[in-house]
Each structure stands twice: as C-alpha cells, then as structure tokens.
C-alpha cells in the first residue's frame, strides 16, 4: 500500500497542547516537513517564542532554544554567528514579533541574518487570553478592545511583512494562509523555500502565516477559517510573495 501521508520525522511524537481548531499545529507540521524535505533536522537549531508556541521546543526533533518574549531574532542571531553552517529558525506569534519584538525582527532583517522566520499572524494574543495585538483588525473585539479595535487611539493593523520587505537585508518574504487545503499546500511550499534559501545562504527569509485562534475569537474552527481568515483577514493581509531576490 502506498503511503499517502506520514507524520514528519522532525515533528516530535508528543501530543501538542494547542486548542481544537488552532492552526499552530498545521504550521508546526509544515516546518517539520520542510526540515525533513531538506534533510537538515540534525543540523537545525530552532528558537521558540513566548506565546502559544512557547512549548515548540518540545515539538520539533531538533536542538531548540526558548527565547524571551520578542527576542527570538536576537537569540537566533547569536546562534547563527556561532553555528553559521547550521539551519537556524524562529517561530513567533504576532504579539511576539509585531509588538514587543519589532526592534529585534527589523534589525535582524536589516542585518540580513541568514535565518528563517516563521511568523504566525492570528490577529490576537492567544496565550494570555485574547488581548488586542498590533495585527488585530479594526473593529475586531479583543479582551483589551471590548468595543472592537478603534481606529482613533488604537490605530489600524501593522503589516510587518510589507515593512520587512522594504529592507535590503530581507531577500524572501511571503504571506500565506492556512484557511483551506490549497492554501496549506501553498504555505508548505513557501516554508520549504524559506529554509532552502537559508541553506543556499541567500539571507533573511520570512513567511507570514495567517492563522486562527478559534478560542479567543469565540468561533468554531470552521467559522474561524471561513469567516475571519477568508472574509476579514485576507483583505487586510493580501497573500503572495512580497519579495524574492
């Protein structure tokens, strides 16, 4: 019998702690599949964020470091400078990367660190219970935006990928989504490309992945995929390659 699908070897054989319907699990699988495809897990050091993916250090079959909130790109810089021949990646949420860690991600991209950044944009702070993120949509409710995010005083969402793409040091930036199978496949190709480019020493690569947080959005998993990502997020966060050099 032909094997159609297998759990990637680079994904540890432990139950993930994510809520039902959360797409962090899919994103983890895509990273692990890329490490398998490039046969590089034994030469990879990942950096886990502070956020729902904080336990990512237990989920990948490779060496891992757990960073302070937002600091993963700085930690990855340190690792990469010591191990330039290793594959180094960060896996960060939108609070981690787009709020508290904005300086670290921007500067790592500016320096052209040859690392891969997997950026999970679920438009909310999942781990701490659904507070507003810089990526939260205007009008979207969060526990710290109980009336919905207000344009005046809270501003409109930050598009980090577009910002990062303006930096010469960033050579590959793509935004993908996990809201249906076709898009998951596209995301898979993007993640693998981001890692492959690092191995080819092509410089800083980042893949932004639009993700769900059904628990904090207060929606069923299917509603979350359809309603929020497809109808609400895509117009604000258009998919596609923002930069490839």
């Amino acid at each position: 019998m032909a094997v159609v699908f297998e759990k990637p070897k680079a994904l540890a054989n432990v139950p993930l702690h994510y809520c039902p319907g959360c797409t962090h699990g899919i994103a983890h699988r895509l990273v692990a599949q890329a490490l398998d495809a490039l046969d590089c897990a034994d030469n990879t050091i990942g950096v886990a964020p502070v956020g729902c993916a904080v336990f990512a250090y237990d989920y990948f079959n490779c060496d891992m470091q757990e960073a302070a909130h937002g600091r993963a790109p700085a930690v990855a810089t340190g690792i990469k400078r010591v191990c330039p021949e290793s594959v180094v990646f960060t896996y960060q949420g939108d609070g981690d990367l787009a709020a508290i860690g904005l300086a670290e991600i921007t500067s790592a991209a500016m320096r052209g660190e040859n690392i891969t950044v997997i950026f999970i944009n679920n438009a909310i702070y999942g781990m701490t219970g659904g507070q507003m993120a810089p990526t939260t949509l205007v009008g979207q409710k969060a526990t710290t935006a109980p009336y919905g995010r207000q344009l005046v005083g809270q501003g409109s969402p930050i598009r980090v990928s577009e910002m990062i793409a303006t930096l010469d040091g960033a050579t590959y930036v793509e935004r993908v989504s996990l809201h249906d199978a076709a898009n998951v496949n596209r995301a898979k190709r993007a993640v693998e490309k981001a890692f492959r480019r690092q191995i080819e020493k092509k410089g800083f690569s980042m893949v932004e992945i639009l993700s769900t947080c059904p628990t904090n959005w207060g929606l069923s998993p299917v509603e979350a995929l359809n309603y929020i990502i497809k109808e609400q997020m895509l117009p604000v966060y258009p998919l596609g390659v923002l930069k490839e050099e």
């Binding site: 030469n43 302070a68 700085a74 810089t77 340190g78 300086a103």
Partner: protein, 352 residues
Amino acid sequence: MAKVLMKGNEAIAEAAITAGCRHYFGYPITPQNEIPEYMARRMPQVNGTFVQAESEIAAINMVYGAAGAGARVMTSSSSPGISLKQEGLSYIAGAEIPCVVVNMVRGGPGLGSIQPAQSDYYQATRGGGHGDYRMIVLTPASVQEAVEMTVQAFDLADKYRMTVMLLGDGMIGQIMEPVDLDAVKTLMAPAVEKPWATTGMKNHPGRNVVNSLYIQPDVLEKVNERLEAKYREVEREVAAHEEMMMEDAQIVLAAFGTTARICKSAVRMARAKGIKAGLIRPKTVWPFPYAAFEKAAEQAQSILCVEMNMGQMIDDVRIAAAGRCPVSFYGRSGGMVPTPEEIVAAIEKAVK
C-alpha cells in the same frame, strides 16, 4: 611580552580575546565605548564576530543564543544599558548559560552622568532581573587586575554555568595603566566541555534544549533548589578579598574597586597620623567575603564603608558585622570621586 600601556576598556577587550572569546555583542554607551570599538577592530582579525546590536536588550539576547550554542561570549555596557539587560540576565540564569558581562558603572539614577560611580551595587549583587538568581560579580581595582579577572570570569562562567559580571566604573574603564597580557594566559583553566549546548543534533547525542520555562511549580521549585545549591558552592569557593594593614587595625575601611585604591592612600595617610587604620577590599561582591568582615568586626573598634554611591555595600558589611561593632559610611555619588583627604577626615570622625 613586556608590559604595555593600555586603557582599561581596551585591555579588558583584549583579555577576553586571550580567554578565547570570539563572539561579542554590544551597544554603544559611555564610559565603555572602547570595548565595542576595540572588538569591532579585533574580532575580524581573529575570525571572531562583532555585532553592534540594536539595543542592549538585543545584545544580551544574542549573548543568550551564542552562549547557548556553546561559545565563549561577552557583552559590555554601562548602567542604563545594564538595566535593559536585566531581562536577558534573568533568562540566562534560568537557562544556566555561561557568559561574561562588563559593567562600567556611571552615575545614576536615570540618565545620570557619565562619570564613575558604584551605584549599581544593589543591581549587581541582588539581581536587577526577576526570580531567585545570582551572578558572580568581580570588582577589579586596576587595569592589570581587570585583565586577570576577565580571564577568570570566562573560566568561572563555564565552570558554574552562570553569568559573571565584571563590575568596574568609568575610572577603571578609562584609566591607562601598564598591563602584562601574557601573564594572564598562565591563569587560564582548562576548557570545560559543554555537552548541553545547542550545536545541532549531529554534534551530540540526543536533543539539546536551552530553556528557562518550567510550567509545573514543583519542578521549578526543584530547579530553584538546585540553583541555590550551586550558588552556595560558589559562595564557598569563589569569595575573595584583599587585606591591607589589618593585623592591628582599629578602624577598618571597607571599599571595592576604584574606591579601594583611594582608600589605600587614605589608610597610609591615617597611619602617618598615628591612627591604626586598615582596609578590606572585596574582590568579589557576590559572593561577598562575609568571613573577612566578621573577623574584622570582632577585632576592630569600627568599620567605615567607603563607596561611590549613597551607601549600598554597607548593607553587606552590616550583615557581617551583625552589631559587633559600629559601621559608618562615607560616600560620594553622581560621578564624584572621593579624595584621600576626605576619607581621612571620615576616618578621624569615625575614631573620635
């Protein structure tokens, strides 16, 4: 090699390279700019890495990553920058990563001044970051001692898997003195294996994880107990001090770093006036050489603590003296440096 005349900051940077440090991450701040500038020049010559980070926060997290991957790593800063590094120092302590941090203290609080001060004693010895943790804190009083302590700092860091801070001040950083850098090579301990480092699984058995998160409280409590046992061991093995004219001292000066140097002059001047003065100079302020001060408190009439701050180390001196003799204080702050004459006047007041 003969002795060469070097600025404290540059001598420390070169000593770090001698100690095998090939990765330096920093951010400019006076009065320690010569360290990043020297590293920017020297690291490429020794196949090392210099990164000017976007902030002290980033710099200390680069240290975390690089030292977590097993390298000998250093960063340096001065007071406001060291405040920003506290988050990283706490994570480094939790993850038990060895690293060396130089702090050329300047006057505070806030933006303060750029002149020498010792007002970050509490921050260095009590921990400015969160959680139950310690750093080894070495306090050089000359450029030669600074280079020796730099080498020692890397060895201690690796041995105990913890941060070692070189606590200087603007004076130690900026002063030019003759140093013998060859001599420090003989002080180096054999390299320590780092089987825990994240270098990729092909380089070690199993999977290595550098982490400070222990979500189960009972597990974290065990970690804290293990750390505490390590810190007790460091207290026994690492505490160091120097004594001057202590045999018959009736008034004992307590001072570290730059202030201790000035106190040495003051002790000689007081002796010339017939006052039996002596000095205890902690070379480590964590662990603090309590035993030396316990003994002094038995023998002397009083202890005079002299610092370039409003009175911080005096807390440790009082803990040691435990009421056995009076402990008084003389200090200058804000970047002001006490003169020997001022200290002699304080001695005369204390013995009256």
